[in-house]
């Protein structure tokens, strides 16, 4: 029954209604005396107009009451009656479907009543004595009666046209705002979906990174265990027994104990890693973690799908460590996957590794999938995942279209070799 309006909408409606009332009364005053009936009708229509958006059903009821009252009081139709048009419009635009159809019916009933009241009945009362009507009917429709019928038809048609026009405009407005609303909802849903998708991608990539890291750690721990156990057994079986390094307090062999501790600690850590990896592990292909040396294979794999991959290396290659090598591998893999999905396959994709003294620059250049478009900025391209990889490897990554190209560039730190061939002995090393 009552719609929520902003104070501005309500203010506008009341203001417009007030103007109508004032103008209508002023117009009536110009042509003579303003009576209570004139004032009442103008005020009633004004209130109906003011209510048209706040409560379309009340506005329609009020407009009807005022119109009927107007006829009963034998008032001529006036400017104030113009309020009926916006009210009809409002029933169609804002009301529920039953009100809409009541509004529709009102256009015909209202037009018919208005025509009868303002044209037909006065004419009949003026000209139509019973004998005129009788004669007119006998002679077919002619004479005075015919002209009454004619003007009735014309006025009725005109009124219906004007009323129905208002109503139809309301219906159109309704349809338009509906589609606007649904488009807005669709846009909201779309952006929500993109955000959610992005979150999922980052999450997945984090899981994958965690898995890779744990994998690397697990294999290192296996080495620690094998070394400690091997050394312990070899030590126990070799001839060093007689001068073993014993704890002065209880005579325990310290070497044996220390190696046992190393092995059991590493075992505990490996057990923890295994728990963390959980189920994630099992569907992985069997093979060690890929690194830089597997980039050739990767390029070949993509080559077999029809994508031309050029691998270029410049500068002096340095050991990067398996986590960073893995990061490079995964970034290249993801970038090539994107290129395969979105880029023009006839253009070669260039994977360039530029080795500096302290950092490795990795650049993957492909043709821009959507020239000038911003589709790539959205998710679904694994870019958040690549950024995550690079960040965890201590580097940075950017992926963006550059003209007709799409460029993924990353910078990763190259660790300083711990056993450099020429440490400069005379230079003071800052702490």
């Amino acid at each position: 029954m009552i719609r929520a309006l902003t104070s501005r909408q309500l203010g506008t409606d009341i203001g417009v209604a007030a103007v109508l009332v004032v103008v209508a009364l002023a117009y009536t005053a110009q042509s003579g005396y303003v009576g209570f009936a004139d004032a009442g009708v103008a005020l009633g229509m004004g209130v109906a107009l003011a209510l048209r958006r706040f409560s379309p059903p009340l506005a329609l009821i009020l407009a009807w009451l005022v119109a009927v009252l107007q006829m009963l009081l034998r008032q001529d139709p006036g400017l104030a009656d113009l309020a009926i048009l916006p009210v009809l419009y409002s029933t169609a635009a804002y009301g529920p479907s039953i009100l809409r159809w009541l509004g529709f019916a009102s256009t015909f009933v209202g037009a018919a009543l208005a025509t009868l009241y303002s044209v037909t009945i006065p004419a009949l009362l003026t000209y139509a004595t019973p004998s005129v009507i009788y004669q007119g009917l006998r002679a077919g429709l002619n004479g005075e009666l015919a002209s009454v019928a004619e003007s009735t038809l014309i006025v009725f048609t005109g009124s219906v046209a004007v009323f129905i026009l208002s109503w139809v405009l309301g219906v159109l407005t309704r349809a338009f705002s509906r589609s606007e609303a649904s488009r807005a909802a669709q846009q909201t849903a779309e952006s929500d979906r993109l955000l959610a998708e992005q979150a999922v991608i980052v999450e997945q990539e984090r899981n994958r990174i965690a898995r890779d890291m744990h994998d690397i750690v697990a294999h290192s721990l296996a080495v620690v265990i094998a070394q400690a156990d091997g050394a312990r057994y070899l030590y126990a079986s070799s001839g060093i027994h007689h001068d073993r390094i014993a704890d002065p307090r209880d005579g325990h062999d310290l070497v044996d104990e220390s190696l046992s501790t190393i092995a059991s600690t590493a075992r505990g850590a490996l057990a923890d890693v295994r728990v963390l990896l959980g189920e994630l592990r099992h569907n992985e292909p069997s093979g060690p973690q890929p690194g830089l040396s597997e980039l050739d294979d990767l390029a070949r794999q993509f080559g077999s799908t029809g994508l031309t991959v050029e691998l270029r290396t410049s500068g002096i290659t340095a050991p990067l460590g398996s986590p960073r090598e893995l990061a490079v591998y995964r970034i290249v893999q993801e970038a090539l996957t994107n290129a395969l999905r979105h880029a023009d396959r006839s253009e070669p994709v260039v994977v360039a590794l530029d080795w500096g003294r302290e950092e490795l620059w990795l650049t993957v250049t492909s043709s821009n999938p959507v020239a000038g478009g911003d589709a790539i900025a959205g998710s679904g391209h694994g870019i958040p995942g690549m950024i995550e990889r690079a960040t965890l490897a201590g580097g940075v990554l950017a992926a963006a279209p550059r003209g007709t190209l799409f460029v993924v560039s990353a910078q990763l730190p190259v660790p300083v070799a711990p056993t450099g061939p020429q440490p400069e002995p005379n230079r003071a090393v800052p702490a």
Partner: protein, 224 residues
Amino acid sequence: MSDPVVIRVALVDDQALFRSGLRMLVASQPDLLLVGEAADGASSVELAAAVRPDVILMDVRMPGMNGIEATQHILAGADARGAARPRIIVLTTFDLDEAAARAIRSGASGFVLKDAEPAFLLSAIRMVHSGSAVIAPSATRELFDHFTAGSAKTPPPPAFDSLTVRERAIFNQVARGLSNAEIAADEFVSEATVKTHLSRVLGKLGLRDRVQLVVFAYEHGLAG
């Protein structure tokens, strides 16, 4: 084969430091002799042909040819030469490794975790060499349970019906993971008798060794 009690062991793993750890362990045992090492599947096949180890410790995850394929090639190569098949123990970092399950299906005699206690690994080497017991039978069953879940179990082949009552009893006990000594005690027979029965069971069913029997029992719904 100068000394019959010495078990010739070969190591296959892509991590040199892991190999050197195991090398020390093997070297500490008087009845074990390390006869060779390989860093990948392909060279392990050559190694097996050249030095004919009794037992091979094989990593499943390696670059190039992995442990599963290497197992297949080594066993096929031994068959082709008419030589005795080496026993292959698969080494894995993960207890539920599908690759380990596939390696066993391909003919490996069992799997051992890389962080297993050294005593366990050493006894596993001796066990598969003598063929007297299955390494970690319950873990092996769990492994197959994990990777064959969902796939329907097939009814046993007709060959299974040709087993005698005694052979079927032995079959069930091996399938449960009992060693020859345990079965002998249960059945009040000598270990040698158990061995004879078992080799007849394996022959009738066309199985390579007792771990294959465990897998067979599992896949045909015969495991207790």
